[in-house]
Symmetry: C2
């Protein structure tokens, strides 16, 4: 099959990558549409030593399901984490925290930038009929945005700052707009600002943020500067949510003083993948409209151009149109 | 008056330190008993550039109170933070987070290792008659221990690890013993282990901790090794409470990888001073018995020996007997 291949931080398009065989309980999915995420860009930069097909945001159709033939033809998105289901981590914290987990296109499992992928049937979630492919391809990052609400209480009385108005920041902002008492987004680029304004969401530049003034700060840039701004902007007793993967091998670049967290009684919350069913529900109810984030579609054989576009400053969502 | 004096990280005993004058609303307190805390030891090591009389854990008697003469003679402990009461930090987060606050014996306010100290009347809390001086002198650190329960939910279903069984760790362990489903304390020294056993609290050595096995880990050592152990011991989606001030100017010594907090969805909570009234209440109800922590009493003129004793490995609480 055709696929994008990542090896030693070098991306290429390949025509003849063999499909992964199906394990018991797995289904073969024909991929229609897939999105490039910040994590994919970090994989290319070497944040994690991944070798194989990247991609974990997708919409597809079940083409083979030996253990559930009735599901063939179903249009699906997926929970991308596959745990063993038996270890203490799976039992106590859920399969996304299994130490031996595979993660679609990120860890030990070929990803979505290809004609086909395979996943356990239980990971594949049917898409409601009224949700378009273009909206459903955002289910995974939208779930990640909604995970914030699963982890911390956000209400009318809370002033919330989202740092970063890229792919994930935009979705976070849309999910919090009706929830937070006051919402501000730090948006650096014109395209980001325009999109926020279209959703009636207040934005500002980093320089416009008053120190110690937000009860909740969500860091969605994954950069040391973003984290430093979060630390400045949060008020004492406030909460910083870390929503990005960081390539922080050089820890000295990180301005985190543990003592200052104690003195100001700051809470720092790491936040990752979220509830896919809730995300699909929000898309079905049109409470979030992610399609405005789509910047451009590419074909698989244009993978290098697609990744280059996705990595450009201020770029929003780049999609691969894999089957029409 | 007599006082312990700290200047340029050098401690001395002085006979003729002038008393601080009383501002409007303040009272003069004759100190009876005062305790040396880990923070005092950190001040001596230069964690914070404090010059003056250290000491913030004390029991005393109100000797002058121009604005409330009826309170003269009251036996008191104190909330050690004095905020301006007007700024956005005071209003949003409480006076202990005021940027211009003074803190008894820690910041801009002479402390308790002296014959007298002064504090606003509203900071001085009467001690119930049945609580001895020896118990009441632990009110401030006990309140700091109880602050954990104010910040996070701890219940029957939670496995809790306390790292460090020194002065603060012992109090934390006593406050959580009846609350947590399962409580384990990492105790390095024999004296610490004996005291925990006397309260029927399970303890172990650092080597006895299984990775990723505790829902809540409370770090009470203030050392890089303690923090590293906390990070190892907490399970995915778990919570680490930072309960010590850290002298972390050399951030490269700190093994905190922000990405790993995101991937494992760890919450880190900074925790400082706590509710004094609740602490006094627990002492009155004999739900906590701190007096077993007292290692030795010193007179003020033996300050150097007292601090040396307090800094010895495994030392528990050292008190200054200031007036009989």
């Amino acid at each position: 099959m055709r696929a994008v291949w990542l090896e030693n931080q070098v991306l290429s398009f390949r025509e003849n990558v063999p499909e992964s065989g199906l394990l018991k309980g797995e289904a073969l999915v024909k991929v229609r549409l897939a999105g490039i995420c910040g994590t994919d860009l970090e994989l290319v930069k070497g944040y994690y030593p991944y070798c194989g097909i990247p991609g974990h945001e997708f919409v597809g159709v079940i083409e083979q399901a030996p253990d559930a033939t009735a599901r063939v033809g179903q249009r699906v998105v997926a929970d991308i984490n596959v745990g063993c289901g038996k270890c203490s981590d799976c039992l106590a914290s859920g399969h996304k925290h299994c130490k031996t987990r595979s993660v679609l296109g990120i860890k030990n499992r070929q990803g979505a930038f290809a004609d086909y992928l395979s996943l356990p049937l239980q990971n594949l979630i049917p898409i409601p009929e009224t949700v378009s492919d273009e909206a459903a391809v955002f289910t995974e990052p939208l779930a990640a945005a909604l995970q914030i609400q699963q982890q911390i209480q956000i209400g009318d009385a809370d002033s919330v700052l989202v740092i970063g108005a890229g792919r994930l920041g935009q979705l976070i902002a849309q999910t919090l707009a009706s929830l937070a008492g006051q919402l501000t987004v730090v948006a650096r680029y014109k395209s980001q600002q325009v999109l926020l304004s279209a959703h009636d969401i207040d934005w500002t530049q980093a320089g416009g943020i008053r120190d110690r003034s937000f009860a909740i700060v969500i860091e969605a840039t994954g950069s040391p500067a973003g984290f430093a701004l979060a630390r400045q902007a949060v008020r004492p007793r406030g909460t910083i949510v870390l929503k990005s993967t960081y390539r922080d091998t050089d820890v000295s670049k990180w301005p985190l003083q543990l003592s200052s967290l104690v003195v100001d009684e700051i809470t720092v919350v790491g936040s990752r993948c979220g509830p896919m069913a809730t995300a699909l529900d929000q898309l079905e109810q049109k409470r979030v409209d992610p399609t405005g984030l789509i910047a451009k579609r590419y074909f698989l054989n244009d993978a290098l151009a697609a990744f280059e576009h996705a990595a450009a400053p201020g770029a929003l969502k780049i999609l691969f149109q894999i089957t029409p």
